[in-house]
Symmetry: C2
Subunit: 222 residues, 2 copies
């Protein structure tokens, strides 16, 4: 084991973590007034209770903020052509994946804050989010021609609505169990919202994969 | 809005959640004795404190178990050919991605349980995990020719080591801050282990993408 090996290892792990030593520029990308990034840079990597929320909800909020910053880092500086890039006929554009994240969050707002079940969604919700929710052909037809700000504004607006509702609730609500949800089994609100969070990472893995294959682009994770 | 639209929406959201109504078969795939799945089916979708762990560590453990079950569901029934499938010259096989998840977890064990920094890793660790950690060319050369059990056994063994250490620690340890870690900023152990967890979802998004493109296979998420 020599220093070169060590250096390679260290760089690889930093790359794997999605954060090379140049910093965590997604935070600089958003304005300080965006309420989903209103923690300063120094606290973004501290998962735990946050002021304004009950302890467990605050912990969840800190995870969601960390995850969102990671996704936004993957797409920073992308132009419309990057966001509309379609790798193959069955792929989704990066723009549609960003919209899909917002659609998922909007759905879980309805489900957990308002008690809507999956088969009784409001008509205006279906109209607004169906393409983004379904991805595939519907999204390829409907979601294109936008710049990054368009998507980030929708994601941010949706997140702000989530945070406003979280502020009104407590840890007992977070632990509340829906007797039949995932796989028709008992599922608590924490699990539904943890899914909203990890789901961003799921598609971030695809976003980074596509980003590496956009002709002329070099950035993107493994 | 008609019932067909609603049905389509509901199915789509269940698909998006990675859990069609047939159930959550990854749990059946593992033997009940696997210690990282020793909660019964009825509690897998309950995120929160778990017996044997401090409250916050137990909550993290429940997220890691849920995430792992989701990853294993993506690869269930895959044979060696599926696990060695290489989409293009820059891709990683699904087998190497599974090994990469174990390597990442092994690295964070060293970092958070033993205090190793990224540039001073033990030689035996580098030898064992380097290919899986680096992915790319090293992984394409080294990681192939194995069945699913080979990968799952390594992932499970690695997880068991994590859980054994978690049981010895408390929430104060989970909140302990490394002053310079991600982006050279303060990072607590909860953030490092949340990253280990969401990192599984990141690569699961890629695993499902590859799975859909294995000739002859139909399964896999969007």
């Amino acid at each position: 084991m020599n220093s070169q090996t060590n250096f390679s290892t260290r760089r690889s792990f930093l790359k794997q973590a999605g954060m090379l030593s140049a910093g965590f520029p997604a935070l600089g990308f958003l304005s300080p007034s965006d309420s989903n990034f209103n923690m300063d840079d120094e606290s973004i990597h501290i998962i735990g209770p946050k002021p304004g929320y009950s302890p467990q909800i605050g912990t969840l909020v800190s995870m969601m903020a960390w995850m969102r910053a990671t996704v936004l880092r993957s797409v920073q500086n992308m132009n419309q052509s990057d966001l509309d890039f379609l790798f193959d006929a069955n792929s989704n554009t990066i723009g549609s994946l960003l919209m899909h994240l917002a659609a998922t969050e909007a759905y879980y707002q309805l489900n957990t804050f308002q008690g809507f079940s999956d088969d009784k969604l409001p008509a205006d919700f279906e109209k607004k989010w169906m393409g983004a929710n379904d991805l595939g052909e519907a999204a390829r037809k409907q979601i294109k021609g936008h710049d990054l700000k368009y998507y980030v504004d929708i994601m941010t607006e949706t997140r702000e609505a989530t945070l406003a509702e979280f502020k009104k609730r407590d840890d007992a609500w977070l632990m509340k169990v829906d007797p039949h949800y995932f796989a028709n089994q008992p599922t608590n609100n924490y699990c539904k919202w943890f899914h909203v969070c990890e789901h961003e990472s799921n598609h971030n893995g695809q976003i980074k994969w596509y980003a590496k294959r956009i002709p002329g682009r070099k950035s993107g994770g493994e």
